[in-house]
């Protein structure tokens, strides 16, 4: 099995089948095959002992050191849960069938090799198995297998969003379509300037799902498995981006040298590395939503010179603003914008309260601050007005966030049990209002 070139590459290089072969070969050299994926290490990386194929090992110790201490702790704790059955069996010395893992061929092979090593004493065998399970971090090969079993049917072999469940391009089964990773663009991240996503951003999507779409939360996988999938998705995305750049390089230069291939590869890798410095955070406590703030937010939402949200999201936030739609040649009302994947895109209906990038205030803040990569949602956080002053102050930003969140408050809000918070005296008063199912 091999990765195929994307339709756009094939179209761009229709007349040069040899160049198509060259690019396919170069990509296979740089990223391997679906059965055996992995980043090719450049001379510099080998010298520095840096290897992006092992994010869990330190950067100068044969890895890329991208897993923080806390993340690694969480992985180990989750492994103890994930492999609790295996660990209990190791403890009891029951080894039969211990090496059967549906989606981790390398883990299975490691277990097999420990079991078949006749030089080991039983105590050594137990401790090696124990540390193997407890410290498991999937290799790209294991993650590729996991991807094939769990993700491929929507996202496709190359991450083109063209798996069988996505349906044929002309009448897709899913709306929205599964993400095509190959542009390197991910919509729901914590970074600004349309930077590439951090590994944590992709992890969060796996953790939380993209609510309102066919992408569910994948918390049923262990933390290690999810980090592994992040690694593999990143490999597919970088592979796709390199592919696109190689094709356009040839179209521009009518020539594609080995040096420029490596240059493009490194350049795109570095672009992915930039993300860490682009995180949008907020210093201090999030201000509480007061009526004055909500009123201010409403004002900014409608102010064409400030937030200008209503032009797309509509006066009531229903996603029916005048700029979002147009009348096409057949007189039909259609979406005014296409996203970077060439699909019609509509503004979110904010009243439904289904926020794809998460419903935390900081998530909405990041959407407004940095925009949504790949779509027409603009970045307002660092915009300047005509006079060169910041368009929105930090208070303005939070007023907008709170106003947007308040749009999805339900009139039929039902009473719930008062919780651990100390304000339960007040809570009890509300608690006996319209109880039960309405």
């Amino acid at each position: 099995m091999r990765y195929s070139l994307s339709q756009s590459t094939k179209t761009a290089l229709e007349d040069s089948p040899l160049v198509q072969d060259q690019i396919a070969g170069a990509l296979e050299m740089l990223f391997g095959t679906p059965q055996n994926p992995g980043f090719q290490r450049t001379a510099q990386w080998i010298e520095d002992d840096f290897d992006p194929n092992h994010p869990a090992s330190a950067a100068d110790d044969g890895g890329s050191g991208e897993l923080t201490e806390a993340q690694w702790e969480a992985v180990r704790a989750d492994n103890a849960r994930r492999f609790s059955e295996q660990l209990a069996r190791v403890e009891r010395g029951e080894y039969a069938g211990l090496a059967s893992f549906r989606a981790a061929p390398e883990l299975a092979a490691s277990v097999d090799s420990i079991l078949s090593d006749s030089d080991l004493s039983d105590a050594d065998r137990r401790s090696s198995l124990k540390s193997l399970f407890e410290g498991y971090y999937p290799s790209l090969r294991d993650s590729a297998e996991m991807y094939r079993q769990e993700c491929l049917h929507c996202h496709g072999v190359e991450g083109g969003g063209d798996g069988p469940t996505a349906g044929p391009a002309e009448h897709p089964f899913l709306d929205p379509r599964p993400r095509d990773y190959r542009l390197g663009k991910f919509k729901f991240t914590a970074v600004k300037d349309k930077a590439r996503p951090r590994r944590e951003d992709i992890y969060r999507v796996l953790d939380q799902g993209v609510y309102g779409t066919a992408m569910p939360s994948f918390r049923r996988f262990s933390a290690a498995e999810r980090w592994g999938l992040v690694d593999y998705v990143r490999l597919l995305a970088i592979r796709g981006e390199v592919e696109g750049r190689l094709a356009s390089e040839f179209v521009e230069e009518e020539h594609l040298s080995a040096e420029s291939q490596i240059e493009i590869y490194q350049e795109i890798w570095e672009k992915w590395g930039e993300a860490k410095s682009k995180v949008v955070t907020f210093e201090g406590e999030i201000p509480e939503p007061t009526p004055a703030m909500l009123a201010r937010g409403k004002e900014l939402f409608h102010d064409a010179a400030k937030g200008n949200c209503a032009s797309c999201h509509g006066d009531g936030g229903l996603g029916d603003g005048p700029s979002a739609w147009k009348i096409d040649d057949d007189g039909k009302k259609v979406s005014a914008y296409l996203d970077d994947w060439g699909q019609p895109i509509l503004p979110r209906n904010l009243v439904r309260g289904l926020y794809r990038g998460g419903r935390r205030p900081i998530d909405i803040y990041r959407r407004i601050y940095a925009g949504i990569n790949g779509g027409p949602m603009p970045a307002l956080g660092e915009s300047k007005d005509a006079a060169g002053n910041p368009l929105l102050s930090s208070d303005d930003m939070w007023s907008l966030v709170h106003y947007v969140r308040s749009l999805s408050e339900r009139d039929e809000a039902v009473a719930g049990a008062p919780h651990a918070e100390p304000s339960s005296g007040e809570a009890n008063e509300h608690g006996h209002g319209g109880s039960g199912g309405n």
Partner: protein
């Protein structure tokens, strides 16, 4: 041939009975019960299983005897009978009585679990939203109302305190789903447009599978969740952590 058929049916009988008697030794049986009312469900299940089992053995025994005794080779002449009124009355009345027995014994359990009037007097702890293809649990914030800005949302994981009645509202965003926690012995359909109250009380802590039990689309098999039963202090700590995470300023993302 007669012996062969007799043996075949006998083997079926023995295998069937053995399966039920031995299944729990192999983990093929019901998962351990977790909820207070689950004991009633299990008791009913065993009542019905024993009844059905008794009649299975009885009818299967008669069948085997008939196969053995009335084979073609024996060539006994068939006898015409107009039936036996008494016998017919008997085999109508006995199953009838048994059905009535089942009807009346299960009513209490059904009422406890499903009748709103017999629900424990507690406020809903959360709203459980089913959608294609995941579970999302919305907890109220300090204002104790669900559907407001201070709600906490937890995908996948339904966290509840142990040893006290937990009531929640089940809702669906799109199609019919079904909330099923085999350990709790509870299964309740979620209907789009309806708010369905459900309650249970978990007897011990742990993590348990929550699945969708109504074919809801292509991703039905993926629609898994987890019920996490925590002690009261752990539950409160979790809620506090979830609240902090919900209203974080993103500083944990700083490099």
């Amino acid at each position: 041939m007669r012996f062969l058929l007799t043996l075949l049916f006998l083997a079926l009988l023995v295998l069937g009975v053995w399966t039920f008697l031995d299944a729990h030794n192999h983990g093929w049986w019901l998962p351990p019960n977790l909820s207070t009312y689950g004991h009633d469900i299990d008791r009913l299940f065993y009542w019905i299983l024993w009844m059905v089992g008794f009649f299975f053995v009885l009818t299967e025994g008669i069948l085997i005897w008939c196969v053995f005794a009335y084979s073609k080779k024996r060539d006994t002449k068939a006898q015409y009978t107009h039936g036996n009124h008494r016998l017919e009355m008997l085999w109508t009345a006995i199953p009838g009585a048994m059905l009535l027995f089942i009807t009346f014994t299960q009513m209490g359990a059904w009422a406890t679990i499903k009748f709103k009037s017999s629900f424990p007097d507690v406020e809903p702890i959360a709203e459980v939203w089913a959608s294609q293809f995941d579970w999302r649990i919305v907890y109220p914030g300090p204002d104790a109302k669900i559907g407001t800005m201070d709600d906490i949302e937890s995908p996948f994981e339904f966290v509840v305190p142990v040893g006290q009645p937990v009531r929640f509202n089940l809702r669906s965003r799109d199609v019919i789903h079904s909330f099923f926690v085999p350990y709790l012995r509870i299964k309740q359909d979620a209907m789009p447009g309806m708010v369905i109250p459900v309650w249970f009380q978990a007897e011990r802590t742990g993590s348990f599978d929550l699945v969708c039990a109504e074919l809801c689309g292509w991703g039905h098999y993926k629609m898994a969740g987890r019920l996490k039963v925590l002690s009261q202090p752990d539950y409160e700590a979790w809620l506090k952590g979830a609240r902090q995470e919900m209203f974080s300023n993103g500083s944990e993302d700083k490099p």
